[in-house]
Amino acid sequence: MTAVQKRIIVNKLALAFSTLSAVIALSFLFWILGVLVMKGVDALSWNIFIYEGSPPGYEDSGLKHALIGQLILVGLATIIGVPLGIMAGTYLSEYGKNSKLAHTIRDISDIMMSAPSIVIGAFVYAVIVMPMGHFSAWAGAIALAIMMIPIILRTTDDMLQLVPGTLREAAFALGAPKYKVIIDVVYRGAKAGILTGVLLGIARVAGETAPLLFTSFNDNFFTTDLNAAMPSLTVTMFNYAISPYDDWQQLGWAAAFILSMFILGLNILGRLILLAGKRK
């Protein structure tokens, strides 16, 4: 065998291995996705949206409590996390720039983005749940907001930096004060990017279970009391899935399906907005 033939064979083998690993990866992932869709669609019914949780064995059981609870938790987290994230990102891009402080904040947020979410749950437990003496929706929302802030901070920072400096200078030359330049010129220019960051941030925390386990805890009934334990799709899914009851497990899959669709929807929407923004 000549050296060239050998190289050709090695090349084919290597490419075959790489294609094979792509096939393996995809088949596992589509297996999981397939299970999610089959089990989820199977378990889906109108009852899920009408009824709240009930003991195993009851016909009229649903996920209304968890759906509403999830929306409240994620909504509260968004209200807390998004303004803080955007303002912090604004500081980094418009004031901090290349200062040491700005770089430190960027580095720390990068680390926080991958930090174990369960630890944030433990932290919120210690500073909110313990002093208050009970689980609460507030605690859950704050845990989610803490996870959301670094994501939104980093995307806002990146997106604002993409706005050309000449635009800012033009606005300054017209005599606009800095805050007006930022709000009316920089924010406007980076609108699509900031929105995408916000959507991806929401999508990221909406799927989190671990930080909610001991902050908002869970409840099998519908509640809007922010000072009490609040059900969420993720924790409900966890509890139902490890229960020995068939109908609860079914509801768990339905919850998994609904939540995944919501998160995928947010992700796709975020990408579309960014694409549309680029095209302009």
Partner: protein, 283 residues
């Protein structure tokens, strides 16, 4: 005037993140002092975890975290690199776009779903093949590997894509095969980025709770084989936090949380500052 207020508002928000991170460390440290004072180094070297006797040794949980992550990395790294090569070099442009986006979307699927799939669909298969319960270190490692795969493949692909086309073209012009170009041009060029991406994925895997909670078993026992049920730090926290009934128990759980935070902080910091920073400077 408004300018000042605006500056102060944004600066306070930016400083808030530093404050929160420092606060997390302080709180976890404070809460865990009781356990640290009671057990000292035994906390991380002994594996007897007996809440009824007020004895807490976290060795099994720490071992389980390290072992399951190691196993997951062992399985995921070759496949992720294969997928990344496929995505950046082999696939046709259309497949590349579709496959690339689906990998990124799969990375967004909540990890609790990977855990549910593991419990209901994968563990039974392991049980049929190896006997026993199916739940244990191996199951946790595999589910973790699958969960981390999309993220790992996506970031590794991004690292490979930083190789300038002109370098690749020169190598092709010299008569290199695709594999020659991959191993002699792309991998050497993007090495720091690839290693950084893999370690970053490791940092995520080590703190992952929901994908492994279902399939690990939550038994405080250092496993003798990869089929043994065991536990990890996040699994212990998820299962026992709301059940803790003594202050020493709580304190030990906070000690676990602090240990986990330090482990993942160090891993992620190495990835970010040692490897990925080089990439940024190189460009």
């Amino acid at each position: 005037m408004i300018d000042k207020i605006f500056l102060n508002m944004t600066r306070t928000s930016a400083l808030l993140i530093l404050f929160i991170v420092a606060w997390i460390f302080v709180v976890l440290f404070n809460e865990s002092t009781e356990a640290m004072q009671t057990f000292g180094l035994d906390f991380i070297t002994k594996d007897e975890w007996a809440p009824n006797l007020d004895k807490f040794g976290a060795y099994a949980a720490i071992f389980g975290s390290v072992a399951s992550t190691f196993l997951a990395m062992l399985l995921a790294i070759p496949i992720a690199i294969g997928v990344a090569i496929f995505l950046s070099e082999i696939a046709h442009d259309k497949i590349k776009g579709f496959f690339g986006v689906s990998i990124e979307l799969l990375a967004a699927i909540p990890s609790v779903i990977y855990g549910m799939w593991g419990l209901f669909f994968f563990v039974p298969i392991l049980r049929d093949i190896f006997g026993g319960m199916g739940i244990g270190l191996l199951a946790a490692g595999i589910v973790l590997a699958i969960m981390i795969l999309p993220f790992m493949a996506a970031v590794t692909r991004d690292a490979m894509n930083t190789t300038p086309d002109i370098l690749k073209e020169s190598a092709y012009a010299l008569g290199g095969t695709q594999w020659d170009v991959i191993k002699d041009v792309i991998i050497p060029y993007a090495k720091a980025g690839i290693i950084g991406s893999l370690i970053l994925a490791l940092g995520r895997a080590i703190g992952e709770t929901m994908a492994v909670t279902f399939v690990m078993g939550n038994v405080h026992h250092t496993p003798n084989s990869i089929m043994d049920p065991t536990t990890s730090i996040p699994v212990t926290l998820a299962n026992e936090f709301t059940e803790a009934d003594s202050s020493l128990y709580f304190s030990s759980l906070f000690g676990l949380a602090l240990t986990l935070l330090i482990m993942s902080f160090v891993v992620i910091a190495i990835a970010k500052f040692y490897f990925l920073r080089k990439v940024r400077k190189g460009q």
